[in-house]
């Protein structure tokens, strides 16, 4: 999973890395161009300001998951259980609401808390049992999925109170969707957490070089565990928002979150090996991929074409990024690589 560290760092020494923020800026320009292009060219994409903003309700739950997943990926890990965590948290909420007649908001809070707990389980399995994050969260995703199916029964709850459903589809003053507010606040929080707090610096340091971080006195296990708790929490929050969006829960409702969210995080400029990336980039990537998908569907492209284009963009973007960073053997660097070998590192 965390492969290629050596050669990547080796080549980094040789060629200058992108100055901070270039990737984010490029994404931002792309986002603006794409949005303007869609507004101009696709009838129905901009029916009015309120409706235009409401488009984001269809993809912001992915963004919530992405925020937490970014934290985990920055440590050099991965969380494959985000999808089933989202489902399970939503079902916990719904069952508490129907079964124990709790207030929906208290049930929702407990749902989010259950996500944190599931994340804690992931973190403990990874750090205490020394299991690779990929395999640990793959296994727990199977287990959480079973629990979700069992709890949901053959007729999962639906029809939540309207006050709750507004979280998914409502808007302040009929213009500004609650989802945007929630995502905006959380994005600002995560941005500060990752780039301005001691915790964030430790997360990045662990992802950059776990051993060095350990020698530097960082309590690696604790930080790593905490990052999975965070990921579980945001996944659960996404599950709750989805429940409000659909006014229903299903044990498989989160399953589409996983692969799309990884795509988003990586496109946002976060290194899949950890230690490099920013929340700003991820936020822009959330909007970029979301707008692209909504725009293409409204323009009349099928889900199939839209999915294929997303895959191609992911490959193209990362290839391009590598090209500018002097990695890989594509075009510009090919000639140079033929002559100069990367410096020995071990």
């Amino acid at each position: 999973m965390s492969g290629g560290r050596n050669d990547v760092t080796a080549r980094r020494g040789a060629s200058r890395r992108l100055p901070l923020g270039n990737w984010e800026r490029a994404l931002l320009v792309l986002l603006v161009l794409l949005t303007l292009g869609l507004v101009a060219a696709v009838p129905g994409f901009y029916p009015g300001f309120g409706d235009f903003l409401a488009l984001s309700e269809n993809f912001l739950p992915f963004g919530l998951v992405a925020l937490g997943l970014t934290t985990v990926i920055l440590t050099g890990g991965i969380d494959l259980s985000v999808g089933t965590t989202a489902s399970l948290a939503a079902i916990v909420m719904a069952e508490l609401w129907t079964g124990l007649h709790l207030s929906i908001w208290i049930a929702a809070l407990l749902g989010v808390a259950s996500g944190a707990l599931l994340g804690l389980v992931n973190g403990l399995i990874i750090t205490r049992l020394r299991t690779e994050p990929l395999i640990a969260t793959l296994a727990t995703s199977f287990i959480y999925g079973s629990i979700a199916t069992a709890l949901a029964g053959d007729n999962p709850p639906s029809g939540f109170p309207d006050s709750f459903n507004r979280l998914g589809t409502g808007a302040i003053g009929g213009i500004l969707p609650y989802q945007i507010v929630l995502f905006g606040v959380l994005a600002a929080f995560f941005s500060a957490l990752i780039s301005r707090s001691a915790f964030g610096r430790k997360v990045v340091m662990i992802g950059y070089n776990t051993e060095a971080a350990r020698y530097a006195g960082i309590r690696v296990d604790r930080i790593v565990t905490l990052s999975y708790v965070i990921s579980g929490t945001t996944a659960a929050l996404a599950g709750i928002v989805l429940a409000a969006y659909y006014s229903a829960v299903r044990p498989d409702m989160g399953s589409i979150l996983l692969l799309s969210t990884i795509t988003t995080v990586v496109l946002g400029g976060v290194s899949i090996f950890g230690g490099d990336g920013s929340i700003a980039g991820v936020v822009i990537a959330v909007l970029l991929l979301g707008m692209l998908r909504q725009g293409m569907l409204i323009a009349g492209f099928s889900d199939m074409v839209t999915t294929m284009v997303t895959g191609a963009i992911l490959l193209g973007a990362i290839a391009l990024k590598n090209l500018f960073a002097g990695r890989g053997t594509g075009l510009a660097t090919l000639l140079r690589r033929l002559r100069i070998r990367p410096a020995a590192t071990t």
Binding site: P43, G44, F45, P47, L55, N58, T149, A152, G153, D154, N155, P156, S158, G159, N165, G168, T169, Y245, Y246, S247, A248, R250, P251, D252, M253, S255, I256, R293, Q294, L297, I298, G300, S302, D303, M304, T307
Partner: protein
């Protein structure tokens, strides 16, 4: 290139072959009775593009759409997910379609998006698998649930005897329509064959390979099972393939509901004696008729209407029962190609 030609020929044959279907209602009226002066845009959104049953619906819908001056679009998600369908609905709303027709991956999750569509004046017609009643204008039910439950039990009961041990192989534990059928068949079984016993219920997740594995496991773990009822396309095929692989043809009867193309070989080899379904192609036609009538506001939630050559139908609280179960057997299955 040859591929498409062959397939084109196949669908043509299928359309011709589907003609002799009887609906039990008198032929009356023609498309001429319906106001088709204004073109309308109608979308058909299956659970997932790429399955033959839905393709059969599309085939019928295409034919009817031409006659009804409908600008027709068949589009759907590439995974059987509610989110995929909702995304498609949203795009159809933005593109100002007049009618959205759909068979739902699940009834509750799709409801808010379809309610939004209705609020904007878009008519919503569900077929096959329903959504919440307040999220659609009309629902075309394949067959009456009780009648279908009876047909499912009878598809094996005749061959297993009245005191058989039966296994059920369904799709997923929360599949709406499968659960309705299982409820209906259990009720019928209790009333008609009180000694019949359902010993296990397994799930194939609508996946051919998982259904096959589940079928094999059912038969190995429950050697006294003599009948499998599999009310799901992939599940019936999986159960039949399992019987064949274990060499239990003639000892275990399989019944369920699948499109004729996928069970043809098993019907011919005698593993499946009877398999109830309905004519998916004609159902697709009816969906378009109802869409047209709904767009014209020429159809009542309670009342009768005429759908061209398909005959007349009755709507009750917005629910239209399409047909009585159509039983495929070795004698008639070759008349149906979808």
């Amino acid at each position: 290139m040859t591929q498409t030609i062959i397939r084109g020929a196949r669908s043509l044959r299928a359309a011709v072959a589907a003609l002799p279907l009887l609906l039990g209602t008198a032929l009356a009226g023609h498309a001429a009775d319906i106001d088709t002066s204004k073109p309308i845009k109608v979308a058909m959104v299956p659970k997932l593009v790429g399955l033959s049953v839905f393709k059969a619906n599309e085939q019928g819908a295409q034919t009817a759409a031409k006659a009804l001056n409908i600008d027709f679009l068949y589009t759907g998600p590439v995974t059987a997910s509610a989110q995929g369908q909702v995304d498609v609905f949203n795009s159809l709303i933005a593109r100002r379609f007049n009618v959205i027709t759909t068979t739902s991956n699940n009834p509750t999750q799709l409801a808010p998006a379809l309610r939004r569509a209705r609020k904007q004046g878009i008519k919503v017609v569900s077929y096959d698998s329903d959504v919440s009643p307040d999220a659609r204008d009309f629902f075309i039910q394949n067959t009456d649930y009780a009648a279908f439950g009876k047909a499912l039990v009878e598809s094996v009961a005749k061959y297993t005897g009245p005191d058989a041990k039966i296994a059920i192989l369904s799709s997923t534990p929360d599949a709406t329509i499968q659960n309705e059928w299982i409820k209906a068949l259990t009720a019928y079984m209790k009333a008609t064959y009180p000694k019949m016993q359902i010993v296990t219920t397994q799930y194939g997740q609508s996946s051919p390979s998982q259904s096959l594995t589940a079928g094999l496991n059912i038969l190995q773990a429950n050697p006294d099972v003599t009948g499998i009822i599999a009310p799901d396309g992939a599940a019936e095929v999986g159960a039949a393939a399992a019987v064949q692989k274990l060499g239990r043809t003639g000892k275990v009867a399989v019944g369920g509901c699948s499109d004729p193309d996928s069970i043809r070989q098993y019907v011919k080899s005698g593993i499946i004696k009877e398999s109830p379904l309905w004519d998916e192609v004609k159902e697709g036609e009816l969906v378009m008729y109802v869409a047209r009538l709904a767009a014209n506001n020429a159809i009542q939630r309670n009342g009768t209407f005429t759908a061209g050559d398909l005959g007349s139908f009755t709507a009750k609280d917005g629910v239209i029962v399409f047909s009585t179960p159509l039983i495929f057997n070795a004698g008639n299955i070759d008349q149906y190609k979808f």
